[in-house]
Symmetry: C2
Subunit: 123 residues, 2 copies
Amino acid sequence: MPPQPVSSNFASIIRTLHHPPAENFKLAHILHALADPVRLAFVRVLTAEPGGINCANTMARAGLDMPKSTCSRHFQILRKAGVVRSQRRGIELINFLRADDLQGRFPGLLASILDASRMERAA
Amino acid sequence: MPPQPVSSNFASIIRTLHHPPAENFKLAHILHALADPVRLAFVRVLTAEPGGINCANTMARAGLDMPKSTCSRHFQILRKAGVVRSQRRGIELINFLRADDLQGRFPGLLASILDASRMERAA
DNA sequence: AATGGTAGTTCGGTTTTGTCGAACTATCCA
DNA sequence: TGGATAGTTCGACAAAACCGAACTACCATT
């Protein structure tokens, strides 16, 4: 086949950022996504950032430090479960909590987990 | 050392069945324990059995079949997280949901997860 | 107190899942 | 076109899940 002149660069965006529709959320996946202190900390940060926040700043706000690849993987798990939506804004990837989708699919679930998380931190 | 005449057989019971006190529950452990369809099914069964239910019957009521060792391990994870209390009754091990302890430590958490689980099943 | 039966745990080997550095891709700016 | 920044993917290694087999605990009978 002939060589591609320039790699069409939106293909990879589509490949990396697939978000499940709310009706396909699986409870087990959501609980697994939140059953990790790092990811739960990320979600707590996201609740305070309705305008979205990028990966590196999420780590900083959570007071955590880790390799970029690990952070990326944590966000990937949150994304695949439906907890987070990510969209590119310029050079960075902005993450949003899918609070409404979660509330619609499993009412009260996220709120009670976040309550529990804050309670545990406060103790 | 001198040979033990008869192995003191309560030691192993203490070894196998250690239940954390409610104030030591970790949210991440509880979510991890419940982030598995099999264990979540077990917990749903336990909610309907306030008098406790043994391992084999829990599987049966959940409509599941698996090796004993796998079932044992699932209950071990639930136990270590604090979701379940197990006590020997004669030949069998009876499992109870620690609903009150969970409610005391993380109010509303278990209820919302069970609601979500039943909702997902019903759909 | 030996035998046998039932309930469940532990062990060992294999498979799956998580972690992290290195290389790669996407985007912006000069 | 080059350099800088943000994040993803790859590959190798480490940790955890799975299941059959062997083991322990308990009860009942003899």
